[in-house]
Amino acid sequence: MMWLSVLPPLPVVGPLVIAGLLLMTSHGLPRPIPDIIALATTALTCSLCLLLMHHTAHQPLVYWFGGWVPRHGFPIGIGFVITPIGALLAAFIGLLFFATLVFAWGYYDEVHAHFHVLMLLFMSGMIGFCFTHDLFNMFVWFELMSVAGFALTGYQLRTSALEGAVNFTVTNAVGSYLFLAGIALIYSRIGALDFGALERGVAAQPHDVVIISAFVLLTTALLIKAAQVPFQAWLSDAHAVAPSPVSVIFSGAMVSIGIYGIAKLAWSVFAPSAEIRHVIRVLLLAMGAFSTVIGGVMALLQRHLKRLLAFSTISHVGFLLIGVALWERRALAGVFVYFIGHGLVKGALFMVAGILLALCGSIDEIELRGRGRGIWPAGVAMAAGGLLLAGLPVGLMSGGTDFIAAGANALGQGWLLWVVILGAGCTGGAVLRSSGRVFLGLGPVAGEERHSPTEEDKEKPDRPLWLMLVPTTALLVLSLVGTRFGSDVISPGTLRFMHPDNAMILDGARAIPAAALALRAPPSSYTAWVSVALALAITVFSLFRHRLPRRASRYFQPLRPMLTTLHALHSGDVRQYVMWMAVGLAAFALAFAVS
């Protein structure tokens, strides 16, 4: 099919060109035009990616820029290799941007079309990151995505947004320099940048210290982006203060895409090294488990709604990292399902936060108590989102959880289920508690959350409620009905993802036919109900604590010092975050030293 071979670069360079032209003409365009152009671009990009996904089901699509096909199996240019998984995630990203632009319709008309330009560049960076088959090219898209994120965080020019943006920029800039150092190390050893060529180089010397160090640096950079313990603290600063449409993208896609990057590098490049596989199974699993729990507990302690949601993102992305670190087929398939499910639900929840900011003029849970009664549909959306975060056994999030749980059980790592229950219960409970307090006026006495940082905040109330509710509801509904993907796209796609076909990509051999082996969705386990029960228990306890005898809360007194420490870890001091990076790197060194 000739026309198919033209498609691969378009979802990336198309939005880039549109963004450039939009900036060029922004001074002359009347108001709704940039909105319409940006919406059309994202919609088109999303459909292109779906088309690509459809046509790569049997064979990945390989595209060499500049026509530089590999010479004797050695890549000379940059390739895009489009696999069903990459195309699916790209389509999801396009969809999320589309929904966000609908949500933000007309909101940012002050500074010409700058918001739209930045959003389109942001989307290009993410999609390029999904498609690329070259390490340095991956860095370029990674960095484009970061720079767009930095600029968008401070977009509203509020003081705390600027501070959050500084923390975000500094930590992620250090991360990108670590990524570059990793590229330099692996280049000094293997002398190539294409994933396929690198994988062959790793297979030739799987125990090499230089290659292992390169893995550590690259993974650390991506863990910083994915905000995993101990690199997590910037996220709650940035996501809490960014404009809510931007937070939708940050939490829905940008953070989890770091996990996709880790999985991509692990399977396409570093898989032949036994030492690296071992450290992934041990250290990354531990980091994921810590993130799940710490993120969940911290979410429970917040009163600033966006900060609460930001911590829940750390928790859920930690679960994604667990799925990758299990190094198992079903768990990996679950990661992709969960990726999309979480992105949809979390995006919808940040939209609800945006609705509150616009219509109720605050983001503080305690201050907002009962003030959401007039906009109850938003409350329904928020409660539904909370239940889905808690693991209600319907839709994509729980489908992904079941896959990952099946993988963990098969490996005898059943204890992970309790980590997941704790994380999901806490984050779901936190969201349900907030929705009860804001929309039903429950919970007159605040608990531990009253000690957490908050601030006055509001966004422009210039959009009707229905305009903001439509994308919110659409995302939630999609997260409920999308389960079909589990068998149709994700399971054959996951096999492709785990076994990159280098003979086809580099040597032009015939593609290995897609295995007929389809992963059956495992039955939903009891864990879902346990975590939902935990979430409901937390909600009831925190909303009705004034009815409880005083003794009940005294049992939690011994926890105070621990909670204070947790708050101190997220102090907002960027120097401390840099220090934690050094500690994280040392943890990697230690893990390799003992293994």
Binding site: E110, Q156, L157, R158, T159, E456, D457, K458, K460
Partner: protein, 87 residues
């Protein structure tokens, strides 16, 4: 050649240290400009003239100038704005 390169590498390390240890931002700018020049020379001996040229225009001229402008602006008489000048 080797001696020159050794010397420049050591100078680059010293230059980086100087940038870090110069705690006053205004003096740090000059350390940065000097460090940019050292790096450019080092890149030239590493047979990378393209990079050396870029480092001179960016690292030794453009960036220090931006730092200076920012510091000048920050020193200007300006009452702190309202704590939160949100839109």
């Amino acid at each position: 050649m080797r001696i020159l390169m050794t010397l420049l590498l050591l100078l680059a390390a010293a230059g980086g240290t100087a940038v870090v240890l110069t705690r006053s931002p205004r003096r740090q700018v000059f350390a940065m400009a000097a460090n940019g020049l050292i790096l450019a020379l080092l890149f030239e001996t590493l047979q990378a003239p393209d990079v050396a040229l870029a480092e001179i225009v960016i690292g030794a001229v453009a960036l220090p100038l931006m730092f200076l402008v920012i510091l000048a602006s920050a020193r200007m008489d300006r009452a702190p704005r309202r704590p939160d000048g949100g839109r």
